[in-house]
Symmetry: C2
Subunit: 195 residues, 2 copies
């Protein structure tokens, strides 16, 4: 038998989310979270760099999903096709079972500027790996960065829609639509010429 209960990180995450929902992020101390999970405050900070980070797990897997989508795409494809492939691959990350908890989590983030700041940081991290991967796939700069940032924006808008009240479509379908809106933003001239 182990000396300590396993899954400390998960317990901390769950306890934190509960407390944040109940009494707010700022009104919840890190010691409170730790004790609710049966550990000390010091241990909390061994699992998470700071108090905000407890809400932002799974970042590596998300970035991996984006990257995988591009790696599986044919070389030489246009930048936005690669972005579409990345979004398609990442979409599988957002299953229906996750939608409810994502909604709860987002209410907490939306209620606190410091958490929104961290969320942007995470989104920027996604854009950064996307950019690197696009560049590795032959997209030159600054197109790689522009495409990567656009992809991150499409993802962000799509995610917000995915957890919107009443929304039932899957992430893939939503992202497809938003990406289409992006293309028609600058591609209006092409559309006119086809008509």
């Amino acid at each position: 038998m182990a000396r300590w209960e396993p899954g400390t990180s998960d317990r901390l995450r769950a306890a934190a989310l509960d407390l944040f929902v109940e009494q707010g992020f700022e009104q919840t101390t890190s010691a409170e979270i730790a004790h609710a999970a049966g550990v000390t405050e010091r241990t909390f900070f061994r699992h998470f760099r700071d108090k905000r980070e407890v809400l932002f797990g799974g970042q590596d897997q998300l970035e991996l999903a984006f990257v995988t989508g591009i790696r599986d795409a044919p070389a030489g494809a246009p930048p936005l096709d690669l972005v579409a492939a990345a979004l398609d691959s990442a979409a599988q990350f957002f299953t229906d079972e996750r939608r409810a908890s994502s909604r709860v989590r987002q209410t907490v983030v939306d209620a606190n500027p410091a958490l929104q700041e961290r969320e942007r940081h995470k989104l920027a991290s996604v854009a950064a790996v996307l950019r690197t991967e696009l560049h590795a796939h032959g997209v030159p700069e600054p197109a790689a960065r522009l495409a990567a940032e656009s992809g991150a924006t499409v993802f962000s808008i799509s995610f917000a829609q995915w957890i919107a009240p009443g929304e039932e479509r899957g992430m893939r379908e939503i992202a497809d639509g938003v990406l289409g809106a992006l293309v028609s933003l600058t591609g209006a001239g092409a559309a006119e010429m086809e008509a």
Copy 2:
């Protein structure tokens, strides 16, 4: 004669930048900055919400410049033309005299993740006002947000280039080029049809 020396905020900003350059952001305490500017720590926090904020002044004027560019543009113009107008207007904010100090400031920001987080927050704030103004100018969602985020990205890339070593072109010229790269990202099809 005034009871206190005027321009406390400016003195705090200057002292902070000096100290950050000398010994780094984290190694500099807020009390240190305050005393270097001849006030107490408590006064520092009366002028700035937090320690990071001392590096991020002038946000309101920057946002105003963006907004003004759109307000002066003809109604009914395509989204990206409005974005171009906003960038053009904001470019006047970045005069040659500011370039040197911007470079110094950026080395400090680039050396600290927490400061980068705040910088993204400020950029997101620019995107938000841009989005609102685009929407008010008749651009529907999600195009308004996509165009706004794209504009912010173009601005960010352009600014980075503006302070790059050896760069001598003005902000306007640089931003023009980056915006062109964005258009050709999705407009490639249109270009082909014209050829």
